[in-house]
Amino acid sequence: MENAITMKNVCKDFKILNRHEGLKGSIRDLFSRDYKTISAVKDVSLEIKKGEIIGYLGPNGAGKSTTIKMMTGVLEPTSGEIMVNGLVPYKERTKNSERIGVVFGQRSQLWWSLPLIESFKLLRDIYLVPKKDYEDMLELYRSLVDIEPILHKPVRQMSLGQRTLSDILAAFLHNPAIVFLDEPTIGLDVSMKSKIRDLIKGLNQQKGTTVILTTHDMGDVDALCKRIVIIDEGKKIYDNDIEHLKSYFGSYRTLRIRHADDTWEERVIDESKEDVMDVILKKQKEQKIKDIQLQEISTEEVIKKIYEGSSAAKGNSSVVTSDEKKGAAEQ
């Protein structure tokens, strides 16, 4: 199948002014030519197939937004190649925008004081969507979510959840090949989150839209993504299926032990290093155990381990490259 997005050895450096401390420093900065270069993205290669939902993860400041901005054409890579829908995004930003949709966190692209339906009509005309396609799309929206209550409501009167929902619908309206969702469920309640996940999944299945999803909510990842890419400090550190992620890093399990005084003790066990039964037996020798629970590790904990692992490995430079990880995961 054809690739929706191809990135080859993409790097992005920023030049920023070295700021000095204090009043004197601030005055010096006015005339300073002392720049330092920061690498936000280092040698990232990535292939995303049409119709995939990719979870693009990483701790804060890892370079996720920078990558997305390069994919949308707002930023130009310092080196490397990017192709999106067969276009080089920064060279043909306007043309590229016709075939992508974006939702950026809490910024809304809707017209604040107008009812949602007017924003839809406006976007329909701006993207030159044929009337028939537009009607079909609205019909599809109706089948996926209950849009009637919000359709005629001015955007400024909406709750955060309704607005996010509206923004996602607006991003899909012109049936783009790729939609970028940057933390779409941030700040939403549980039921709204699940509504939005169902909507994204539905649209992806019905329209075959490629979805790039950045999030810190592992619930989103579990519900939507088959494949995840993790980036930290500008480097790609994981790129594979979510199942592999669990089976490779997830030789971890959580053991909960209830003591005689009814308190629970929790322990994450690395099964490659120690046996669960050994731990239980050892504990039992020390004190009386009333009950035990064994839990599979959650995606959230796996991701936490990866983030922590990659920053701990910085010191001894023994970071596992993504290829090695992939290899190990595939075995």
Partner: protein, 269 residues
């Protein structure tokens, strides 16, 4: 060129402006206070001059000119610089850059709706009031058509100046000072606050070639049929000046913008 996008943006702009009825009413009220001030100021100037005609303009001429200039100002006033700096700070500008239209054209047409509304709600009523009160001091004829053309050109010149200042703000990040300087210069040199006839001879000649005049002075001069604008020989240089500045400022603005956006895409924003 497909006009569907542009019409849709104008339409949305009209609907958005109509949401702010109270704002329009307050603007009209503020104008009234400003005009009372202008009236007494110029009354005093004419009284102390001792003659009925100062610099070739009677008191009535001056008042008509200034009232219409104020009305025109309300209608031409744009907030591109403010809006742009806000959207840069909030990062919303990315969403505007990712519309399938040239950013400049997207911005222009987004504002067009509010111009239509303000022209109808502030300029036309003021114009009618002035017309009735002065009993035909404003000529009614082909000059009205010329005036509309001149106003559209003025709008483009004004927009281009706004865009250039807004682009400068991409670099400075603080817009307040720059915008105040720009507004003061425009108001003074365009004839919006003092008719250009009152400027010293040499100064007036220099100002006559600058783009600011194209925004307020030329449309008003044409409307009031002053300075020989009722003849073709008088009219052509004025349209010529407007058109020339339209082209110069648009080309400069587009080049400057493209260069700056490229710089942002390279260095990040």
């Amino acid at each position: 060129m497909n006009l569907r996008r542009h019409i849709a943006l104008t339409r949305a702009g009209i609907m958005e402006s109509l949401q702010y009825r109270l704002g329009t009413a307050v603007t009209l009220f503020a104008n009234l206070i400003y005009l009372v001030l202008v009236y007494f100021l110029w009354r005093a100037i004419y009284d102390s001059a001792g003659t009925d005609v100062v610099n070739g303009m009677t008191f009535t001429d001056t008042m008509i000119y200034l009232i219409l200039a104020t009305a025109l100002f309300n209608f031409l006033e744009m907030f591109v610089v403010w809006d742009m700096s806000r959207s840069i700070q909030s990062g919303k500008i990315i969403l505007d850059l990712l519309k399938p239209m040239k950013f400049r054209s997207y911005t222009f047409w987004s504002y067009s709706g509010s111009h239509v509304v303000l022209f109808t709600l502030t300029f036309i009523p003021t114009f009618i009031v002035v017309m009735i009160v002065t009993h035909g001091a404003i000529p009614m004829g082909i000059n009205l058509l010329y005036f509309v053309v001149a106003t559209v050109l003025a709008l483009i010149v004004n927009f281009s100046m706004e865009m250039i200042v807004a682009t400068i703000c991409l670099y400075t990040e603080s817009t307040w000072g720059i915008n105040i300087v720009k507004e003061t210069i425009v108001l003074l040199l365009s004839g919006a606050s003092i008719p250009l006839a009152f400027f010293p001879e040499t100064f007036r000649k220099i100002v006559g070639f600058l783009p600011f005049r194209a925004v307020y002075d030329i449309p008003l001069t044409i409307l009031l049929e002053k300075n020989g604008s009722d003849t073709l020989e008088g009219l052509l240089p004025m349209f010529g000046l407007q058109l020339a500045w339209c082209i110069i400022l648009t080309v400069t603005g587009v080049l400057f913008w493209n260069h700056s956006v490229r710089k942002i895409t390279v260095n990040g924003g």
